[in-house]
Amino acid sequence: MFKRILVPTDGSAPSRRAIKRAVQFAREQKARVHGFYVGPPWQLPVYSEYVPPEVISPKAHAAAVKKTAARYLGAVKKAARAAGVRCSVRYVLGAHPYDEIVKEARRRRCDLIAIASHGRRGISRLLLGSETSKVLAHSGIPVLVCR
């Protein structure tokens, strides 16, 4: 019924649970999964007088995001390999994760987004994560919200 499942992750515990569920679901559906991570964009430091020693160059930032993405998306790859599910991964830099997620779903022609009900910023069980609710609002395809 579903052929390509987009699995956005931010590396948090709820999102790791969502990965597990999505991969299991994909195996039953004979679908493929596409792991996706949105890293924070590099920000121009606002110091003008002097450059503090801890300032991060765009290059170093990109390298750090790449490393983080490899770790988070590695979890998707590992779970998919263990379940025998075809898997691809990609990461981008973006200030608005929901936007990148919806765009990626369109670009990859995914027909389902499996996402955790909240990620890093979710504090309360009674609230839906901010990015999740934005994905729900903007997505043109079904969304599976995992607990």
């Binding site: 019924m1 039953e28 009674l126 839906l128 969304v143 599976l144 919200v145 607990r147």
Partner: protein, 149 residues
């Protein structure tokens, strides 16, 4: 993975799409489908306690009968879709002022492991807003929710 899929409907076109989605999924997963329709709760009429009932007054019993018949009409679509796909199906209709609570309760009562519902329905005005009941179900459910568009 999923054994019992709850499909709350309100009879709107979008919720019919959710029914199709749920039945398709249930067929593939060899799961059962539980259809649910939540009717409005009976409201006591302040003026009905005098000597005579005002015109148009609906007693609790009459209200229950109406909800039941309306529910049966809406749930027929679920039963039909399930029968066409060869999926086991059970339909229930309940009364409640707060549909999201009834949906959560029904999921627990029927031990469902997935809720499939439309992103919005009758009251949805904008594509960019999630329906009020859907967002409440999403916030309160302890099982996965598949939101159909």
């Amino acid at each position: 993975m999923f054994k019992n899929i709850l499909v709350p409907i309100d009879g709107s076109p979008l919720s019919r799409r959710a029914v199709d989605c749920a039945v398709g999924l249930a067929k593939q997963q060899r799961a059962r489908v539980t259809g649910l329709w939540v009717g409005p709760a009976w409201e006591p009429n302040l003026y009905a306690y005098g000597d005579s009932a005002p015109p148009g007054f609906v007693s609790r019993k009459q209200h229950a009968a109406r909800v039941k018949s309306a529910g049966a009409r809406h749930l027929r679509a679920v039963a039909k879709a399930a029968a066409a796909a060869g999926v086991r199906c059970k339909c229930t209709c309940v009364e409640g002022a707060f549909p999201y609570l009834e949906i959560i309760n029904a999921a627990r009562r029927h031990s469902c492991d997935l809720i499939v519902m439309a992103s919005h329905s009758r009251r949805g005005i904008s594509r960019l807003l999630l329906g009020s009941q859907t967002s409440k179900v999403l916030a309160l459910a302890d099982i996965p929710v598949l939101v159909c568009r």
